[in-house]
């Protein structure tokens, strides 16, 4: 299987879906002649032309809403947000229109649209550019939210998102674009709503998604050397949550740690804890632990930036806590 970077996997998914369906178009800042701020759309303008690879003005709300309007009458827009930080400007169109069109019309309308772009901390970009905003969108009925960690999942989930009849919010890891991995060629589909056991284990379940997946794997490898068997469950989809997969894994290991890049309060991990304690309480041998970003805005200074985010040592400590090893 060929190895591709995360950004190349996304590029492949876009190109294949645009080839398959002329209703699909890509719009966003710098997606065309500049070939994408993060090079996800490299080469697509030459291949598909300016009506389908559209350089938008810096008007996030405007082009998000315009694309939702195009989706209302049957086109299938993919809207690239240069980062999800800027998409906050477009939130009204995403939330008040795209997510609600079907409901407000009593089932007359559908809005098949993908909003995608990088999320999470950048490299020393300070507070306005370093935010993991998944929880904001996962909050709204009418949206689906995906956040793949690996290049293969990125390709498969983007293809599913483009074919989905609903608005899909796709968080790509800003720092994952250059990550390499094996990606199946051609028709490779990862269904929305299915989590993936990326590493089997018996002692504790680490539940995560997007960039934190790599820290969890690093922690799992380190813990294996100490004789602790960690299962890593990559959620991949945050709305709807794959409840079955979460409960099945917790019932197997009886302990869980959730790792998310975003803030703790009203985070996605809070909902996962709620799910586990309400449906698998009797299977738990310890309270569920969470490792999250600190409850502060991101700093520029390297040491402060690092301290704000979860990392493998913090995850290892949390795992040991639920195992009643050190620091309990």
């Amino acid at each position: 299987m060929p190895e591709l970077m995360y950004r190349e996997a996304l590029n492949q998914a876009l190109a294949e879906e645009m080839e398959r369906d002329a209703n699909v178009f890509l719009i966003g800042e710098e997606v065309g002649r500049y070939n994408g701020a993060f090079k996800v759309s490299q080469g697509l303008l030459d291949r598909f032309g300016s009506a389908r690879i559209i350089d938008a003005p810096i008007s996030e709300l405007g082009f998000a809403g315009m694309s939702a309007g195009a989706a209302m009458v049957g086109l299938r827009p993919v809207v690239e947000m240069m980062t999800w930080n800027f998409a906050i400007l477009a939130m009204d169109q995403i939330v008040n229109n795209a997510a609600k069109l079907r409901h407000m019309s009593g089932g007359q309308l559908r809005c098949p649209i993908v909003f995608r772009g990088p999320g999470g901390a950048g490299g020393r970009l300070s507070s306005q550019h370093s935010q993991a905003l998944e929880a904001n969108y996962a909050h709204f009925p009418g949206l689906k939210v995906i956040a793949p960690a690996t290049p293969a999942d990125a390709k498969g989930l983007l293809k599913s998102a483009i074919r989905d009849e609903n608005p899909v919010i796709m968080f790509e890891g800003e720092r994952l674009y250059a990550v390499k991995g094996e990606v199946p060629e051609g028709e490779h589909i990862v269904p929305i709503g299915k989590a993936d056991v990326k590493r089997e284990g018996t002692d504790v379940t680490l539940i995560t998604w997007s960039r934190m997946y790599y820290f969890c794997m690093e922690a799992a490898e380190a813990l294996a050397k100490e004789g602790i068997s960690v299962e890593v469950l990559d959620l991949r989809t945050l709305r709807p949550l794959d409840e079955e997969a979460i409960l099945a894994s917790v019932r197997k290991t009886n302990r869980a740690v959730i790792c998310e890049e975003g803030w703790a309060l009203a985070g996605i991990g809070a909902s996962v804890v709620d799910l586990i304690q309400s449906k698998a309480f009797d299977d738990l041998d310890a309270p569920v632990a969470r490792v999250t970003g600190l409850d502060v805005n991101m700093s520029y200074a390297a040491n402060l930036e690092n301290a704000t985010q979860p990392d493998a040592p913090k995850i290892i400590a949390a795992v040991k806590k639920v195992l009643y090893r050190e620091g309990a």
Binding site: S59, A64, M66, G69, V73, G106
Partner: protein
Amino acid sequence: MASAYSKEQLLTMYRKMYLLRRFEERAGQQYGLGKIAGFCHLYIGQEAVAVGANEAIRPDDYMLSAYRDHGQPLARGSDAGMVMAELFGRGTGYSKGKGGSMHIFDIEHNFYGGYGIVGGQIPLAAGMAFASRYRNEDRVTVCFFGDAAANQGAFHETLNMAAKWKLPVIYICENNRYGMGTAIARTSAVPEIHKRASAYGIRGEAVDGMDVLKMYEAVKDAAAYCRAGNGPVLLEANTYRFRGHSMADPANYRTKQEVEDERKNDPLPKLRAYIVAQKLAKDADFEAIEEAEKAVVDAAVKFADESPEPSLDELWRDTIVEPGEQDVRPRERVLGVKVTQWPSYPSGQELKVTWDLEPREQAEQADRKAGLIR
């Protein structure tokens, strides 16, 4: 001088304006009786805008509006009973009682909704117009919004894109002079909304929105202009709402004199006087029309009142499209009327996109001129 309009055309406009007026009067009354709740923004006084615009475009053209949205779908031909049922929150409403007054949708008649966030529908309209160009269809999209929406970022962002990409969309600002209770001149640096068209290099015009024939002419002209590929048009329909912003608003911010003066411009008697002057109809003809439309509205209220509330299972429908799920065709579901013009879209395989949004050569020439490339 002979009228430029046929008798049928003129009487249709009168009939529709009368329907809108009577429907809204009864809606206001039902609100008072507690049958309608939430926000209910009446269209009384502005009828000429929706009716004149609708008569000037084709049935397959798209239309959408803001939260003052009972008039436009009725002008398009939506079922008055189903609109009233939506206001009553009944399962027989167009949105099964899930949308209410601010969210009337009737896709069968190409009415793509009322929206509750000021200016939020303006980008959607550009997207629908974009889709028409993308598919080489000569449809236009007509988008209504209020004067206050012209101060929203959505308005400026969208007009910029619509102008740049020459989208076939007619923006009709229904300037009724108040954004809720605040006079537009108090909040707008340039209260003549049509002048803002010049900032985007597009066509902008003011129209007497109290005169249905002037509205009709302006929109007809604008539609031809858009269909010919000239890009968007911004029309400012100067109109007036005879009632408050919503049923909850006693409208104390304007004087009695002002309202009385504006009532002299009532678009209904104005059209009636014109038709009589043209000797195309007599008082008895108008009485017959009015009786018939009163009966339509009476029946609408009765239908809404007798309709059941939506079933509780409806809570779990229409949020997400489930695989294989069909879209709801309201009139077919409620009245058993066969729906003949439900939109169908070409599949991706059949669609050929020939439009060049930003011709490469032209763009490169511009870059060269600007000294960006050599």
